[in-house]
Symmetry: C2
Subunit: 129 residues, 2 copies
DNA sequence: TTGCTTCTACACCAATTTTGTGTAGAATAC
DNA sequence: GTATTCTACACAAAATTGGTGTAGAAGCAA
């Protein structure tokens, strides 16, 4: 299991913004300073904007929408990767599981996922810079 | 983030073996009963064998190598997906990170990963069937 | 021995996801 | 108006995942 590069882009980009402390930074500037593909960065930041973690100003760049303290790692990961679902049941929704142990497995993963998300929630952007 | 289908195959297959309680089951039998691709199942079981979670007997099938109580979810996940590494640093090994917040991020993910693995370690195959 | 079953160790391929590129256009500031 | 930068796509290369196929070896039983 791996955290995707997209999430890493988000963390580095947001970290950069946090350090600018309220001053907007363009995709070009962030890419330059953090050695990231500007093109890919733009895609990732679009998702962060959709999730309202940043605001944008055409002609100026990106800004954090909240204080770094108020942005959790969970917020970031979910913004970039979509709502997390550690275990994807092979079964289609609304059909009864045909497998011998299916549901027990699902419940177990559910518990693990909850704890994992709780850990992500604890970490704030301020802890990463 | 998602658990791969391969892991799901492993869990279902191992669960099936656990229920057979010491009687060997062939890939064909497991595939039939759990509604899984026999071809893919074979690939996954090869990995479980390399990790010594199961033993094989040509002509008969697969057997658990240990008691279900002694096989943890961590064992299974690591056997199938390889040693886990939640965060893959963009940086090449042995080069200093050029990014502004890189190392802090890496350390944080490391801690989260440890807790996650500890959770997986707690769960035994017996808990899944 | 022969025949049957089943695993083994590949190689291969299709589908999907991830990562990255490119561009026309709209918004904003100066 | 001009320069800058985001926006909303579409596109494509690369990597991964999921799945298929096969020749061969190993074990077992008659």
């Amino acid at each position: 299991m791996q955290i995707s590069r997209a999430t890493e882009y988000a963390l580095l980009g947001l970290g950069y913004l946090a350090k600018k402390n309220g001053v907007a930074a363009s995709a070009a500037e962030i890419g330059e300073n953090e050695k990231l593909s500007v093109y890919f960065l733009r895609n990732v930041f679009q998702k962060l904007r959709d999730a309202k973690l940043i605001t944008t100003k055409t002609g100026e760049g990106y800004l954090l929408a909240k204080k770094p303290q108020q942005i959790s790692l969970k917020d970031i990961v979910e913004a970039v990767e979509g709502p997390m679902n550690i275990h994807a049941c092979l079964q289609k929704k609304n059909t009864k599981c045909v497998r011998s142990g299916g549901c027990k497995i699902l419940k177990t993963w559910g518990g693990i996922q909850e704890k994992f998300l709780a850990e992500l929630q604890k970490v704030r952007l301020t802890d990463l810079i």
